[in-house]
Structures are given as structure tokens and as C-alpha cells.
Symmetry: C2
Subunit: 315 residues, 2 copies
């Protein structure tokens, strides 16, 4: 930054909000605060951006007035937001976590993924899809050695008419038997552990070996964890495997498969459970079958039916 | 972080929201999304925190529904908030800047500093009060050598009955003649340049030498600057000197003195101008007086009357 400074281009003094919006002082006033801010938006602004920002400013100002936010509370909010931003790293996304625990992520998901009763339902992406999943061959074991229950995950990708989709991209990530993602303990796990990028076969089928994930608390050592603590909310998410399934011409599906016998199924800290996504993981006790699939006996199984709806304009 | 993890204390599965708030699926639903999130707040939560958070969640969900926020817009918002947090350093506060340009800072100021027509009006603190002002003696020159117009700032601190307050703490900070604060160019200016912490004398008087500040654009190289750009808003603030004046038993006053002949007085990018805070800075052409006060001739002057209201419960 240099010590001399030109008046920025296009910074001629604009007309202020109309007098009717201003108090006798001619300037900011409490009653019309949101209108005064919104009136400063330039006329050439993208209409959708104007719409979103205007609604945001209206609600922000209504919120502040409704609770009569104190200066100390405002300062705490600034510190909380700053801490949340500074907790973000290349492997941690604290603002997504905040959006998740406030139900904002599920609401956006819900508004943008209306179900027709046929296509597989979506749910939140969550904050742990931060690293690329390694390309894997069908049947690969994404867990390697771990002390969890071995599990064979199978599934079929179809369109919403049930027609199989070959070559679909099936991106998978999950926690381990202790409830941790690889990125939470990179000192002990290689990046890419319990992640995989698979491609469905000519019949739309995919399969891989893993372990049954454990339920887990969302990270509690940051601002969002502290928020849950002071509001008496438990931090746990029921056990689940994340899927992101995509294919050209289809709406990309971001979802989970929840484990039916997991605790916290009815009190997910991020409100992400949909009943259609809850699957039994039956136990198979069959040494021959175990040998065939390359798992110790007994093992558990789940078969996930993925039906992708057609892409719309927003894809 | 260790690989084994205990179930956190107090994390027994709580009762979920009442069935009436839930759709047939028994879980999250769009219509009652905010109620479902708010119902997760624990019963032992501080009542004020519950009130503030409940209102925040209600307005956040109403906003998302009103504009039907898309997944891409949500992702942009997450990135914007993350960038804003990561732009904060020990000498830069981008979230205060965001609050300022959205009018939230002025609204909080306004709600918490109602004027009685006697006490001096407040305005925003702004993002540049990040470093402690150096202790200074009355009469000190806080500018040293600079190419701005020399200026003698004088003032009196009184209570709201006009009774002088000796020993009041008068913290001052301002931009230079190019519109920069010290912390914006630490490579060229020592920290503490154009800042001072003064103590009013036995008559409540204070005085110091400085230069007339210039109007300036708020920092444009971060997320908030980009927000102003895409919304066609100019980034400029009219010229002003910041004051924070405090004395035991009195409400601390955070305010500005605005320079009456500055551009942008009626379109402050952060909406902070109040007409009672706009002061003429008359020019004095008097070599004898200039010599007395230790400034080159001619110089400018301003005399700021600071009346502090009594402290209330929130001080």
C-alpha cells in the first residue's frame, strides 16, 4: 500500500436516500435503518444479488431491533464470527459446521432438492468433504486394517425410472470405528483413508469393503462446539456414510446412508436425518460368502438404492 | 486428538421436538425448520442467550426461505464469511467492517446510546481501534512531521449538566492526510502515529496538535471491499477524528468529530454521520498565536464539547 491515494474511479458522491426515509438529522435513523442501507445499493447491481442482500439486511436489522442487541453482545458476535473464520483450514470448515448446527444447511438442502417420492433424498454435505477422495476400483477396501465391524457396501445407481446408470461417479467418505474422519487425525491416518471415488459398472452397480462407521460428536474444540455447549445441545451425529453421486444429465445427489441401530438417530446435531435414508446393516454369518467378498466372518452389509433425478437448469 | 473417544458427558439422547412440529417423516421439515432448531436448545440455557439465538434462527430461516437461497449462493456465503474471518489480523478487523457497511454497527450504536439532546452523540467505533493509543501529555503533537494541514484540537469534557470532568480519559485516533491509519502502513509509520491517550486537566480541558485528517476509502482489498464493488457502493468515509472518552460513573462515549468541509459527509459508506458531530475546522492566520501553540501559520482549529451522560446498569 502506498502513502498517496487517488480518489477511486466511480466514487463520485451519489444521491442519498430520499428525504422521506431520513429523520430531521438528515442521516442514519433507527426506524428506517434497513431502507437507508438498501438504498445505497447501486442501480447497476445484479437483480438477484440485490434481492438477496436486501432481504438479508432487512432480517439482520429486524433481528437486532427485536432483541435490542447490546454493544457487548455485538462485540461477542464479532469475536465469534472472527474465531469461526480463523478456525477454518484446508481440512476444517467451521462455517459449514455453524450453518449445519443452525439448521441452515438442511433448510437450503430441503429448498433445493424437493423430492418426488422416487428419486433418492438428499441431505447435508457436512464439513468433512474437504479433500479429494482417491480413485478406487470396485471392491476395494477403503478401511484397510481397522478395529471396526467389517462391512460390504453395495448399491445401484439408476435414473428415476429405475434404469441403471453405468459410469456414474460415486464419491464416498465416512468416519472410522471411533467416530473420526481422516482429516481429524492426519498424524495417525493417511489422507484418503475411508474415502473412495468409485465408478458404477455396466449395470449401474457399485460395491466396496469398509467398516461400519460410529456415531460421533462434531468437532467440539472450536467456536461451534462452544456454542453447542453453552446452549446445552449434545454434539452427536448418528452413524452414517456420505455419498455424492453424479452422472451427466442428472442432478448431483449429496446424501448419507444412516445406520439404523445407531444412537442419536432422532436427535442429529445437524438435523440431517431423513427416514428414507436410514438403512438396516444386517449381519451375515457365512464363511463362504465372507471368503468370496474378502472380509472376515461375520460381516455386515448394506445395499443402497440410488435414484438420480434429471438435471434442471440449476445443475 | 486421540483415536479413542469417550461418549461426552451429558450427551444422553434428549427428547426431540414435539410430534406436532414434525412432518410424517418424523424429522427435519421445511415448514417448521426454525422451531425444530430452537427446540434443541437445552432447558438450562441462559434466558437471554436463548432469546437472542431463537430470534437469530427465526430470521436466518425466514431469510433463506424468502429468497429461496440456492446451494451455490449458500456456498458463496460460506466462502465469503470464511474469507472475512481469515482477513482479520491483529491490526485488521474485517467483520467489524462488514457490520459497519451493512449498517448493523450504527443500528446497535443507535439502540444503545439514545440521546437526551444534551449528552454528546455517539457513533461507530470502526475497525481501526485495534492498537492501544500511546499515553500523551496535553499539547503533544500526534502527527509529528506530515504534509497535512496543521490543526489544534481542543475540547472540554463535562457531565450532562455542564460540570467539567477533570481526569477524564480521552482516547483519540485518526487517519493521516492521505486517508491512512498507522496500522494500514506499518512499514512507513510507527504504531501509535496519529493516536493519543490524553487526560483532561482540572477544568475538564484537553488539547493536542495534529493534522486535519482526509476522507478515505475503507479497505478495498478484502471481502468487504469486493462486496461494495459488486453492489456499486462507493467505499468512502468523510474525514473525521475518532474519540473514546471515559470517566468513572459516566457512560463511555465512542464517537467521531466530522470535518464539515469533507466530501462524502452525506454518503458515509458506514452510515455513521450525525449532524451534531459535524464541526467546522476554521483556519487561523495569526503568527503570534501559531507560535504560542507550536504550529506553523496558518493552522486550523476545532473545539469539541464532550458531555458524558451518567453510567447506567450496562456500563
Amino acid at each position: 500500500m502506498t502513502a498517496s491515494r487517488q480518489t477511486p474511479a466511480g466514487s463520485a458522491e451519489p444521491t442519498r436516500p430520499t428525504p422521506s426515509m431520513q429523520a430531521a438529522s438528515g442521516l442514519f435513523n433507527e426506524v428506517h435503518s434497513a431502507e437507508i442501507v438498501n438504498a445505497s445499493i447501486g442501480s447497476a447491481t445484479d437483480p438477484r444479488l440485490r434481492q438477496v442482500l436486501t432481504s438479508l439486511v432487512n432480517h439482520l436489522h429486524s433481528f437486532i431491533k427485536e432483541v435490542r442487541l447490546s454493544e457487548q453482545e455485538w462485540a461477542s458476535a464479532i469475536q465469534f464470527l472472527t474465531d469461526t473464520g480463523q478456525a477454518c483450514t484446508s481440512t476444517r470448515q467451521e462455517f459449514i459446521l455453524l450453518s449445519d448446527v443452525l439448521g441452515a444447511s438442511m433448510l437450503v438442502d430441503s429448498l433445493n432438492n424437493e423430492t418426488d417420492g422416487v428419486a433418492t433424498e438428499s441431505t447435508v454435505e457436512g464439513p468433512f468433504h474437504m479433500v479429494a477422495s482417491p480413485q478406487r476400483a470396485l471392491g476395494d477396501n477403503i478401511a484397510g486394517v481397522d478395529d471396526g465391524e467389517p462391512c460390504l457396501v453395495t448399491g445401484t445407481v439408476t435414473d428415476d425410472q429405475g434404469v441403471p446408470i453405468p459410469g456414474a461417479r460415486v464419491d464416498v467418505w465416512q468416519a472410522d470405528a471411533h467416530g473420526f474422519y481422516d482429516v481429524q487425525q492426519l498424524d495417525q491416518r493417511p489422507e484418503g483413508y475411508l474415502r473412495g471415488l468409485f465408478t458404477s459398472d455396466e449395470n449401474g452397480r457399485f460395491w466396496f469393503r469398509t467398516i461400519v462407521p460410529r456415531y460421533y460428536p462434531i468437532p467440539g474444540d472450536g467456536p461451534v462446539g462452544r456454542l453447542l455447549q453453552v446452549t446445552g445441545r449434545h454434539p452427536n451425529r448418528p452413524a452414517h456414510i456420505h455419498f455424492e453421486v453424479s452422472s451427466p444429465g442428472r442432478h448431483t445427489l449429496t446424501t448419507h446412508v444412516f445406520v439404523a441401530d445407531s444412537p442419536y438417530l432422532y436427535s442429529d446435531a445437524v438435523f440431517a436425518v431423513k427416514s428414507s435414508l436410514v438403512y438396516e446393516f444386517p449381519r451375515v454369518d457365512d464363511p463362504v460368502r465372507a471368503h468370496e467378498v474378502g472380509l472376515p466372518n461375520p460381516f455386515r452389509t448394506v445395499d443402497f438404492a440410488v435414484a438420480l433425478r434429471a438435471a434442471d437448469d440449476t445443475d
